[in-house]
Amino acid sequence: MNVQPFLDISLAALVIGVALFTIIAKDEFSAVVAYVAYGIFLAIVWVRLYAPDVALTEAAVGGGVTGVLLVMAGKRLDVSATMVVAKKPSVAFSAFVAACSILLAGSLAAVILSLPDAAPSLAPQAAAAAQGPGAGLGNPITAVLMSYRSFDTMLEKVVLILAVVGVWSVGADEAWGAAPAPFGPATPSDALLFLAKTLPPIGGLIGVHIFWTGADEPGGAFQGGALLAAMWMVAMMARLADPPPINSRWLRLALISGPAVFLAIGVAGAMLAGHFFAYPSALAKPLILFIETFMLLSIAVALPMLVAGPAARKGVR
């Protein structure tokens, strides 16, 4: 007897159950914790869909870094004190919304299940990009990200920078240029201090490894960068490091280095290899790794800056 279907169904029940709990949980903190668990379970669903690269990203960014962001927001909002006083929606309205949501979910499932059987696919083109003149990469996802759809990936890095600018922009005027509020209390617990001194060397090594193997195996700059970002945040939570001032030169250079190097090589490709974002065949793989190194740096700096929030004056949390 094959147990695989039962495991799949249990996993699905787990994901849906945890997602439901984030909605019906009484207080905000439970909802946030449930959301982090949901991110981890969803990563296992991605593994079942033959998408280990997405699973790594979902676990690292969707579950991990988003979790830190939400927990920090919960602390800054002092959620117990800001319980919303708005009156609860009436039972009839809730029932109406529930009925509409079920209808929506049902029709979506029906549509997906009735998709035509000969599914359209760009896999041949992507495989050609992985093997062909563009790259020489073993991991087709990295080939798509860095060669076949490289312009999208470059723009996505720009989105990250725009988001950092957006987060910095909502800060108070007087605090502009200062450092964001520290991640943790001035005197962290001994356990956290121990963790922050032990984990980053190991996590940093794993992050660089995931980035490096990303050329041929599941992994890449996104997943590795998220892990490096997490290690920096652990150090900041234990106050071994504090967020840098937002007007510091090295911070801004690190933020823009990823898209800047990407764009520069893309423009060089227009002149040397025939068209925008084309790589000369002999140099394709070293060039891609070179770009990815700076992308890794940008991601590892941008994610903690997004979590840290806008600049704050001293003493304000």
Partner: protein
């Protein structure tokens, strides 16, 4: 094909649960969580399409998967901006409700310390 059907049900349920929470929850932080649940469901649809599009010796179509990877990071960036705005609203208004009819802690002067 069973894993695909199960994933379909998960994706559809996530979108339904997310829409329900997004409409009914008064707290903006919960609205953000619900919105991210919808996003998770939409990403899963991409994953299902990617798995159905296996060809050329690959067990999946890498293009939708690569789009989901960038999508997850962009969704995080958008969440970070949303959180920054919510926290700023709380500092300025002393509350985070979105109902304009409710009385404000203060009008005009900032409650920031």
């Amino acid at each position: 094909m069973t894993p695909l059907i199960v994933a379909t049900l998960v994706a559809a349920s996530l979108v339904g649960i997310g829409v329900y929470g997004f409409i009914l929850h008064p707290h903006p932080l919960r609205k953000l969580l619900a919105f991210n649940l919808i996003g998770g469901g939409v990403f899963l649809v991409f994953g299902i399409v990617a798995r159905r599009g296996s060809a050329a010796g690959l067990p999946f179509d890498p293009v939708p998967q690569a789009m989901v990877i960038t999508g997850i990071v962009v969704a995080f960036a958008a969440s970070a901006i949303a959180i920054a705005i919510i926290v700023r609203l709380y500092k300025l208004e002393g509350g985070v409700d979105l109902d304009p009819a409710l009385p404000r802690k203060s009008d005009g002067e900032s409650t920031e310390s």
